[in-house]
């Protein structure tokens, strides 16, 4: 499974498998709950929830499901919510293309990656063909 470097001081808030559409709805609600807990305003709560929703849908539709880890920690001296989505799907062949606006995979359902990126403070992605994709988004207070 692909990995991104984490900070050992981050505190894990939850780890959830994404196997059904209901998991997406549930995790969305967790994200909002934790964003509220970090005292984010309503607009930032909505931004991070929406960004994660886009990532979860990608994972569910294209990556065959996966796992999402929710953490909180200090990033750039700010209280930050960190959400990492990993799948072991086919991977994204052309990452630059997938990150460009207006790109869709052909069935009219865009990957939503550039949109999700605009909604968060930090965005990291790594993908390998036949190995999977890992995306991490961060939103700070």
């Amino acid at each position: 499974m692909l990995q991104l470097t984490s900070d050992s001081t981050w505190e894990q808030l939850g780890k959830h498998p994404i196997e059904t559409e209901h998991d997406i709805v549930n995790v969305r609600q967790f994200i909002r709950f934790y964003a509220k807990g970090l005292k984010m305003g309503i607009i930032d709560q909505t931004r991070i929830t929406t960004a994660v929703s886009e990532l979860l849908r990608n994972m569910y539709n294209y990556g065959g499901g996966g796992e999402v880890t929710i953490e909180k920690g200090i990033v750039d001296e700010k209280n930050t919510l960190i959400v990492t989505c990993v799948d072991q799907g086919p991977g994204i062949e052309n990452l630059d293309l997938a990150m460009s606006d207006g790109y869709t995979s052909g069935n009219g359902m865009g990957f939503g990656l550039p949109g999700a990126k605009r909604l968060v403070d930090r965005f990291e992605i790594k993908s390998e063909t036949n190995k999977g994709t890992i995306v991490r988004v961060m939103k700070w207070k």
Binding site: R32, I43, T46, T49, T50, R118
Partner: protein, 131 residues
């Protein structure tokens, strides 16, 4: 799975010429798609000229739900019914724009009352055009 979806069906109420749909739950994708066909069936059955969709409770509209709503507006218009989305929360509107999702052809109103006025005006205008 099927019964579970059935339990969560979103009610559609008919008042006069209009259908009123109030989305009160965080929708998963299948529920959103089901709502789409449910509304179209109801338009066919009742001959409704307008549909008001209240999303004031929705805390989030992502690209899927956004596309579902704009798709619904174009389908309904092919069936000679207008769709007005009412009550979008400010945070949802901001996020939709930042996400880059445009919703062409979708009419919106601040609340149910304004949405209803909008539909009534539209129907009047169309009647007028016929003569």
């Amino acid at each position: 799975m099927n019964t579970e979806l059935h339990e969560k069906r979103i009610p559609i109420i008919k008042i006069g010429n209009f259908l009123i749909v109030s989305i009160q739950v965080d929708m998963h994708d299948k529920l959103a798609i089901q709502l789409q066909s449910q509304i179209l069936e109801e338009i066919e059955k009742t001959g409704a000229k307008g549909v008001l969709i209240d999303i004031s409770v929705l805390e989030m509209v992502d690209s899927f739900i956004g596309r579902m709503l704009s798709g619904m507006a174009s389908m309904a218009s092919i069936m000679d019914a207008a769709v007005v989305i009412v009550g979008m929360q400010p945070a949802v509107a901001i996020t939709l724009v930042e996400l880059g999702l445009e919703m062409p052809g979708v009419d919106t109103a601040l609340n149910m009352e304004k949405g209803m006025e909008m539909l009534e005006r539209r129907i009047k205008d169309e009647d007028y055009k016929l003569y």
